[in-house]
Symmetry: C2
Subunit: 653 residues, 2 copies
């Protein structure tokens, strides 16, 4: 296995360090292995009837000289294969599978053969427009695809110790380094779709070549300078309109409106933004750049305190798949791309490295359990690209401003960025549970699991027993190989208003040891030490900041990290008609037969007495209500049964 260079900050543990043994994640990760990866392999090979063909493998076959034909799909089609390979790498790391590894090696063989002599690698430009390489960084995603390939190569090296793919991507990185930079004769460009910034840092950590760090830093520092590179290259291409598709908002769409250190609000395409911010955080950590880190914190605050759905969804408009303005979070026209929630998890993980602060862990958890997981069906074969918080299927079929909202999950997409992205995130989930450095271990997520960790070179096993996220009780067994003095820090979730921690049966004074949302317990740990954590997990009626006009007078039900929704299947049509009394009792109940086993929330609410008996469109308000029983399910599991309405924010009365 490969090992990573350290930047001195606590590092996420390797994927394979954590073995999930719970009912929640273990089966989902197994689903990735057993269903999602094979399904997506078929999709990449255009072998799934009735869904948009990917062309991704075929493009590489042609570029490698092993098939005839022309390029198919979108200009960034290579990235789908890259993300699939990255997911395969994480899966192999945690669960060796010689057959899958053999398949991956064959794909890598193909990739190597497709690579040009000078290191260049992108099937679109190799096959379709070789003379146009690097002439439109704004739109053509070459650096984006390169970044995804680099991430995959590093993950594969980490998983298998095999260097071939890594070497292929180092050659490409070297080529890119020869093309871009401030040195005379180089292009002063940067990617229209950020991604390579964080990927180059991974490559740098894997092989130690400082040029990759420098190149990443260059892309970040160059961004947003004037004259705008995207306009300069458009002039060079002789474009009649140098502004391109996005018109007056174009600089913001690409986060190129200002140098990144001057950006204060999250604007433009949400996935691009969050990949960029992730890369910025990486570079800030690697270079000790406090100014850059401060920019990351400012942007983090803006995203998570002004522009994020309760599900951890981000990017509230379909137009540009973008952020809009503070508190503008419409529920029905929401975009909230699955990839954007995934990118928010990436950004959160990096911010959590910069500072052990529960705010970061809380958002990571919120996005993971809700806005990310909603992107994949329980059977692993259908996906949401867009994740609204309120759906009225009939109107989605008729209204142009809701065309982006699908009311059923889709088998694949012409632009299929989300399915392999969710696969790679879930396959790598082990690395999100803990981080560690020479001083201790930091527990970010709770899940039944056994972890084999290293603290300052010494071995430490941590076993979690819990029914999280359905229950807030976690029993942790700490097994250092031998006595170990270190800190174990446990995240006290922001959603939790009452918590207790016992060590070997003795209650800890949490107020005394908790800083910024982490209870830090420093002691000499002995094999068999027990930590019992109890997070009180009542059903919470969450309200939004009053600035979120759309949610005025409404509540979202949340229990632990899980955000709930109403579905038509359980509650009948016209969910907006339901109002939940402030004081009605709500009950949480585990239903093992529903949606793979979930805690549902039940209670009494009101509906209009005789909604369709009176056909007047407008009439004097009358207090005619009838009591109804409602049932809410976890938001992430919606649209796994019959298609119908869905609603997160429920009127309160």
């Amino acid at each position: 296995m490969g090992t990573l260079r350290s930047d001195g900050y606590p590092a996420p543990v390797p994927v394979q360090a954590v073995e999930f043994q719970d009912d929640f994640w273990a089966k989902r990760i197994q689903l990735i292995r057993d269903v999602v990866l094979p399904y997506q392999w078929d999709a990449l090979n255009d072998d799934i009837p009735g869904v948009a063909p990917s062309h991704a493998i075929q493009n590489f076959l042609i570029a490698a000289g092993e098939a005839e034909g022309s390029f198919g799909g979108l200009v960034f089609q290579d990235s789908d294969l890259a993300k699939w390979l990255e997911a395969v790498a994480y899966s192999l790391a945690a669960h060796p599978d010689p057959e899958l590894e053999e398949l991956a090696d064959q794909v890598i063989d193909l990739i190597e053969k497709a690579q040009r002599e000078d290191g260049y690698l992108n099937t679109y430009f190799i096959l379709a427009e070789p003379e146009k390489r690097w002439t439109n960084l704004r739109d053509w995603h070459e650096l984006y695809c390169a970044g995804h390939m680099m991430e995959a190569a590093v993950a594969y090296y980490e998983a298998t110790g095999k260097r071939r793919f890594l070497d292929v991507m180092c050659r490409f990185a070297d080529h890119i380094d020869s093309v871009f930079g401030t040195e005379p004769g180089k292009k002063r460009g940067y990617p229209g779709h950020p991604e390579i910034e964080l990927a180059l840092i991974k490559l740098y950590r894997a092989v130690g070549d400082e040029r990759y760090l420098k190149l990443s830093k260059y892309f970040i520092d160059e961004r947003g300078k004037q004259p705008y590179y995207f306009e300069e290259e458009a002039k060079e291409r002789g474009d009649r309109d140098i502004k391109g598709y996005w018109g007056k908002d174009r600089h913001a769409y690409y986060q190129a409106h200002l140098p990144v250190r001057e950006q204060k609000t999250a604007v433009g395409h949400a996935v691009r933004a969050l990949y960029l911010y992730s890369g910025m955080a990486d570079v800030a950590m690697e270079t000790g750049d406090e100014e850059l880190l401060k920019a990351c914190r400012t942007l983090w605050d803006n995203v998570t305190k002004k522009r994020m759905y309760v599900t951890g969804g981000v990017g509230s408009t379909a137009h540009g798949e973008a952020f809009t303005i503070d508190y503008d979070l419409p529920n029905d026209t929401a975009y909230a791309e699955t990839c954007a929630s995934i990118a928010l998890v990436f950004f959160a993980q990096r911010m959590l490295r910069t500072e052990l602060n529960g705010e970061y862990g809380d958002v990571l958890e919120r996005a993971l359990y809700n806005g990310v997981l909603s992107g994949i069906s329980l059977d692993g074969k259908k996906f949401f690209y867009v994740n609204p918080l309120e759906v009225w299927p009939e109107v989605c079929r008729h209204r142009n401003d809701l065309q982006h909202v699908k009311v059923t999950r889709q088998g694949w997409f012409g632009c299929a960025c989300c399915p392999p992205n969710i696969a790679r995130l879930l396959a790598s989930l082990g690395s999100y549970v803990y981080s560690a450095d020479s001083r201790g271990v930091y527990v970010h997520l709770y899940a039944g699991s056994t972890a084999k960790l290293q603290v300052g070179g010494r071995e430490l096993e941590i076993i979690q027993k819990t029914s999280y996220p359905w229950d807030g009780y976690i029993e942790i067994t700490v097994n250092p190989k031998e006595e170990l003095e270190c800190t174990l820090a446990f995240r006290i979730p922001g959603w939790c208003r009452q918590s207790s921690v016992k060590v070997n049966g003795r209650e800890i004074d949490l107020a005394a040891v908790t800083q910024k949302g982490y209870a830090r317990i420093s002691r000499t740990w002995k094999p068999g030490d027990k930590v019992e954590i109890d997070f009180s997990m009542p059903i919470e009626r969450m309200q939004a900041h009053p600035g979120v006009r759309e949610n005025a007078g409404k509540v979202a039900l949340q229990r632990g990290p899980i955000v709930y929704c109403l579905e038509e299947e359980d509650n009948g049509p016209n969910l907006s008609d339901i109002c939940l009394p402030r004081d009605s009792e709500l009950i949480a109940e585990f239903d093992k037969d529903l949606l793979g086993g979930v805690v549902v929330i039940k209670g009494s609410a009101f509906r209009s007495a005789d909604p369709f008996g009176d056909d007047r469109l407008y009439r004097p308000a009358e207090a005619g209500y009838r009591q109804v029983e409602i049932k809410a399910i976890p938001y992430s599991t919606w649209a796994n049964r019959s298609p119908g309405e869905m609603l997160v924010w429920i009127r309160q009365c």
Copy 2:
């Protein structure tokens, strides 16, 4: 003055029959005369700095050979001048003005000179593409412009007795009749934008030529037949894509998806739809076509009971300026074009002729006082094209799906259909107050005024004294020239829950005489007879049908026919934060200094206690509220002060 042919149904009284003497309409109609018509004349002459040039007069000057140059503006630019001339005609009818009439005659002179020998008249095709006449009925609005010119010509003939313009338009109608129809060698086309259907009926009534009735009926009957004419003509043009801009929804957009008798729901472009339905009602009345009338009733019910805003706005989506589906009435993305509410008034007036039924009068009144009037500023120089029911200016500036929403009224528009449309409606308002036939007079609107009417050829003066719409008490003096036995029928507004009518001091048993919303009083009327009507006019909290998801839990304040709204100027920002207790007292108060003198509604409501003290985006719901005083103003008067938020539907708590 000209006189109209009668179809046997009660006829609207001539514009000049009613002289307004109230504080509400009289000053608005004077504003049309003193400000709006001169302002719009300047606009049509491109003489208003800073607004989009119209080119309308210039196009006619060029077409008449009196100026050099090429066509400017949109393909339907002639219609703006037509509507202005129609408004001038109504204004002249009620208030003779030799100078204005001289100006109109000069314009008519120009129009006559622009007309081609064969009767054809459309400056776009005369100037820009003479060879393309009648080759694209779908998109190019030739028949639409012809219709507006015909309406203007009839109005001018009615007002002045001068036939020149009427003759010009008869020649054009004869030409159109020679081109279209079922006879061999004629085109089987019909207009993409209905309008000529109702105009031809006006022309028919003015000159009695049955060909015009037949042509109108032909356009209506031909519509929606297969093969679709718009596709046939597209093939003939050799278009690569015969579908045109509107793709899969194209037939519905033009109301050409089905023969009109088979249409059950209002679909597509709202103005087109309502002009079409108006024409259908006209043809049904002229021909006694019960089947066609039934189609009108079905469409009326769908529009007014499923697809109309509480303001009388219609067409809930900007995409295609169109109807969507039942109960889909979003407040912020609403389109609700001013012209569509005007067209709804036209349709209502016709339906009211077919049957004396308060439902029609109620909708007419609702649209007139709210969705129509909101289209023009109090100073007569600024206009709304789009009339949303909820506005958050900051988000309108940033969000693509709100680009159609303007937060301030505009001086003119590149597509300036609305300003002259509202001018012609208000200038002709006199004809909406009463209708009459040989059996009696039917009172539809209440306004301080003196009317000189005819019942079966005998003269009757009706004087209304009232502060309507601010007060529901109306004193009516009935002055027949000599004793007159006839029915006077008074509309009992649907918004009124308690009403009384006295004749010469004696209370009438309303239940006994009221049918379908009209109190019908048949007696021998003597000069000086007094009718006192008292409509109780409390403030009503209106609720929407529960199917209108957007308005669940919300109320709209209405008093009499006036729908109210909150504005930021009176209530501070974040209007959605306000909730109105079910039982709080609301007070109506006349403020003579506000917005030209309006009744405002005041009361106590609640707001979040400390809206910005807690910066968490999501938090457990707490009952922290503070009491605030709110003030609501008539919806039609919003955006006459400083720009800001506006809200019609208020949360109830």
